[in-house]
């Protein structure tokens, strides 16, 4: 190769509240006990992963007004788990999804800054917003965010947090025991943020953290979402795990970053991916088919389609044809508490009917076909090659890897695939930096920050 090999960024996610995670497996562990998180994080660190990633829950999912009981239900709180993990890891980044809608900047800024101090600069925040009144019922704030305001909320939240994180300079803590000077200036931590979402001022409680600003992760697919992420994120969760769609997304988002005045290399693109290994390709395929069949039971298939039809489909035979009724977009949502937005249910159903017709698929087979995440399947050597090719061909800058088997599944990847990626020269043999920002190859922040008094409101 002429160009130097790209170093693959690796994140590890823990399978949770979805139908992919094989809780029915005899070896499946607790989804709650800290030992599960500790094992996964230590395994990821053994494999020199860049970070461990934890999603968030704010309401239990419901179907037709009843708590959902088919998949995994329940999880611990994101930030306390990451703080506990900081105590049992030394290099691994700690990334968490936290909702910008149901949190306030002051509290969130101090939580992430605290985590950054406790972890020695290994923190990342995955910014999401939600706007559903269902989730809002769990919060005193209620479901107050209009959907059209979600990017305003996210942008102002990020800007507010950066203002708060920047409110202390590196040299504000003088701490001179001899002279009795603790602070270098009397207004250390002063901030003011005014915008459509926030009007706050005062003094921040957490002095500047090792990274200065924790790493910002986002997901964005729509043009608006891509632009937003290209302007404000350090890394983007891409939904595209296959070439050529992935490379198209990659080119597009990097170009948007360049147009926003950024070095495209400073914005990392990371799809999530799972894997199934075998001693032979045939064995791997067999394992994959088995797992997939267990993930999509007839009932799971009905429920996944109910999100689109917005109707009770429990009366339709999973091994029969797709439901012959139309979606019911005007009915109250049958599935609540799951991020699933349909611009046009009718178009989706029409497309699925065509696919089912053409491929002769039953309801359940259609779901298996359409809800496919496209894991990397094969021998360790094949999987290492596929992953490396995907990244070197600009499908992404790395992957966020998870297994359907919690918490043991990642071990297989670390033991068998990671050494091959290292042999290929695409994965470092050891950590190169002390902070997550360093390990990701993100540019260092200026040591002395430019303090802004009017923070939010610029990016809407």
């Amino acid at each position: 190769m002429n160009a130097p090999r790209k170093q693959i960024i690796l994140g590890a996610y823990l399978g949770g509240v979805n139908h992919h995670t094989a809780w029915w497996h005899p070896e499946a562990g607790s989804q709650i006990d800290f030992s599960t998180f500790e094992h996964t994080a230590r395994t990821a660190e053994r494999g020199k992963f860049d970070f461990f990633f934890l999603a968030e829950g704010l309401a239990l999912r419901e179907r037709a007004g009843q708590v959902f009981d088919q998949d995994i239900v329940g999880r611990p709180d994101t930030l306390p788990v990451l703080a506990s993990l900081a105590a049992v890891t030394t290099h691994l980044g700690l990334a968490g999804t936290i909702n910008a809608t149901f949190n306030e900047p002051y509290e969130l800024a101090r939580q992430f800054a605290t985590l950054d101090h406790l972890s020695g600069g290994r923190t990342a925040w995955n910014v999401v917003t939600s706007f559903d009144a269902f989730t809002g019922q769990n919060f005193r704030r209620g479901g107050f965010l209009d959907r059209s305001k979600r990017y305003e909320r996210a942008a102002e939240m990020i800007d507010a947090l950066r203002t708060l994180w920047d409110s202390w300079d590196d040299d504000d803590l003088v701490v001179d025991q001899a002279t009795g000077r603790y602070l270098g200036r009397a207004d250390a931590g002063s901030f003011s943020v005014r915008g459509g979402q926030f009007d706050i001022h005062g003094r921040f409680t957490v002095p500047r953290s090792p990274q200065g600003r924790p790493v910002i992760l986002q997901a964005g697919v729509s043009p608006e979402g891509r632009d937003f992420a290209a302007r404000s994120a350090d890394a983007i969760f891409s939904p595209y795990g296959k070439l050529p769609a992935a490379a198209e997304f990659y080119r597009d988002v990097k170009a948007r970053a360049a147009r926003a005045g950024r070095n495209p290399d400073d914005l990392k693109i990371l799809p999530s991916a799972s894997f199934v290994l075998g001693d032979t390709e045939a064995e791997a395929q067999e394992r994959y088919q088995e797992v997939r069949g267990q993930q999509i039971t007839g009932q799971t298939a009905q429920i996944l389609l109910e999100q689109v039809w917005n109707r009770d489909l429990s009366g339709y035979d999973p091994d029969g044809p797709l439901p012959d009724v139309d979606p019911d977009p005007d009915a109250p949502p049958i599935i609540q508490g799951r991020a699933f937005v349909h611009q046009d249910r009718f178009a989706t159903v029409a497309r699925w009917r065509e696919i089912a017709e053409a491929k002769k698929l039953s309801l359940r087979e259609l779901v298996i076909d359409q809800f496919e995440r496209g894991p990397f399947v094969g021998t360790p050597a094949q999987v290492a090659e596929k992953i490396d090719d995907f990244v070197q061909n600009d499908g992404s800058d790395g992957l966020i890897i998870g297994s359907h088997l919690v918490p043991w599944g990642l071990d297989e990847f670390v033991d068998q695939v990671v050494p091959l990626l290292q042999e290929r020269g695409s994965l470092r043999a050891d950590y190169t930096g002390s902070t997550l920002r360093d390990n990701l190859g993100l540019p260092p922040l200026p040591r002395r920050c430019e303090r802004r008094t009017e923070g939010a409101g610029a990016v809407v």
């Binding site: 309401a59 239990l60 009981d69 239900v73 611990p76 105590a87 919060f139 025991q177 009795g180 957490v206």
Partner: protein, 409 residues
């Protein structure tokens, strides 16, 4: 051992409770934001078999005055989020209780509930929560969703707080109530993993809490299964009627502050009166006396240390509670006397960290052990167990359960 074992808590805050603590040669003021500092403090407390450590916090920068901000540059300013410090300490300790301060006034009860529940999961049943009401105008401005007017000193010391401030305590009582309901919103055996029917939970054992109060409503259930203790320990610091009543309505422990004006015996009567006024039934509030301690060291008496600290600060130290100076034996005398009149324990506020914590563990604990007043080994694995609170705690939503006595409304 005496009929009722004595309990020892330590309140951790920055470089210690004296404003000049950070100037002491043995203090480590440059490490206050580091994981190592907090790890060593917690491990010292655990080596001393202490029941729990509390970790101070607020949604505003420290200030010299308890009522308003300042712009001083000669005292410790800046701190970390207490709940996350406690979460960090959970895997690094195994027996000591971890009780962070979390403000109720500007935070989401749903977040508080799952955060403390997760601390309890990660520590295998050692979590607590020190409930804190924020009546400070500048903290309200930090959050920005409501205004709180700065109260005058007269208002704050009158027999009854102004209604706007009193309402913050009513709101806090509702927060405690809804957090406790969310902890119970999953029954202990709700997760069934029934492979045959492909049901992960028995949804009849996961409950909406449907809390609707004067200040907010929360539907539930929690996203986090019931914590190992069922109900983690709820504590509150209280100096007057409204917080006593808050504690009596929802807390397990109350930290009170004996002074010359209002002594330890009088405070016990105040707490008892508050419990009667709010109709608390079931397990009585466990009352702990707060005490700032400046202990004798091998080379310097506590009183001399305090004088030296005061000289550095330029003014004599004043506290909301008694400031003790003296030997471990003298402290043991005082604590034993308080225990004899009905205190379950004391929460010691080290004037200087780590010095006074080290003295507590090396001198005070052995002295109390010699007198048969304090444990010689941890006798329980959960914080509730250590503190002598009832275990297991019935779940208010379980069929046939009587629920938590004194908590239904």
């Amino acid at each position: 051992m005496a009929s009722e074992p004595l309990h020892l808590a330590v309140a951790l805050d920055g470089a210690g409770w004296h404003p000049a603590a950070w100037r002491e040669p043995g203090s480590r003021p440059r490490e206050l934001l580091t994981p190592r500092y907090w790890t060593e403090l917690a491990r010292t407390a655990e080596a001393g078999l202490l029941d729990l450590v509390t970790i101070e916090d607020s949604l505003g920068l420290q200030s010299h005055s308890p009522f308003q901000p300042d712009d001083r540059v000669d005292e410790v300013r800046g701190r970390l989020d207490a709940l996350l410090i406690a979460s960090f300490l959970a895997p690094l300790t195994s027996r000591v209780g971890l009780v962070p301060t979390v403000t109720t006034t500007h935070t989401e009860p749903f977040h508080v509930s799952k955060a403390v529940a997760t601390l309890d999961h990660n520590s295998h049943g050692r979590a607590g929560w020190q409930v804190k009401v924020s009546g400070r105008a500048e903290e309200a401005a930090h959050v920005g969703r409501r205004e709180i007017t700065r109260a005058s000193a007269e208002e704050l010391t009158s027999a009854r707080l102004p209604s706007a401030l009193a309402a913050l305590f009513d709101e806090a009582a509702d927060v405690v109530q809804v957090v406790r309901r969310l902890w119970d919103s999953w029954e202990d055996d709700a997760e069934i993993r029934d492979v045959v029917t492909r049901r992960f939970i028995d949804r009849a054992k996961v409950h909406h809490v449907d809390f609707e109060g004067r200040f907010f409503s929360v539907r539930g259930p929690s996203i986090t299964p019931r914590p190992p203790q069922g109900q983690p320990v709820v504590a509150a610091l209280a100096h007057r009627r409204e917080p006593y009543e808050l504690a009596a309505r929802g807390a397990d422990l109350v930290f009170v502050t004996p002074t010359e004006q209002r002594d330890a015996a009088a405070l016990l009567a105040d707490v008892e009166q508050a419990a009667a006024d709010v109709g608390r039934t079931g397990e009585p509030l466990h009352v702990y006396a707060d005490l700032v301690v400046v202990l004798d060291t091998a080379t310097e008496p506590g009183a001399a240390r305090l004088r030296r600290l005061d000289d550095i600060a330029g003014v004599p130290y004043t506290s909301d509670t008694t400031v003790f100076t003296g030997s471990a034996a003298e402290l043991a005398d005082l604590v034993a006397a308080w225990q004899a009149i009905g205190y379950r324990g004391v929460r010691l506020r080290p004037a200087v960290l780590p010095e006074d914590l080290d003295r507590i563990v090396a001198d005070v604990v052995p002295e109390l052990q010699r007198r048969g007043l304090f444990r010689t080994a941890y006798e329980a694995t959960s914080l509730r167990g250590l503190l002598g609170l009832p275990t297991p705690v019935p779940n208010r939503y379980a069929v046939g359960a009587t629920g938590l006595k004194g908590r239904s409304r």
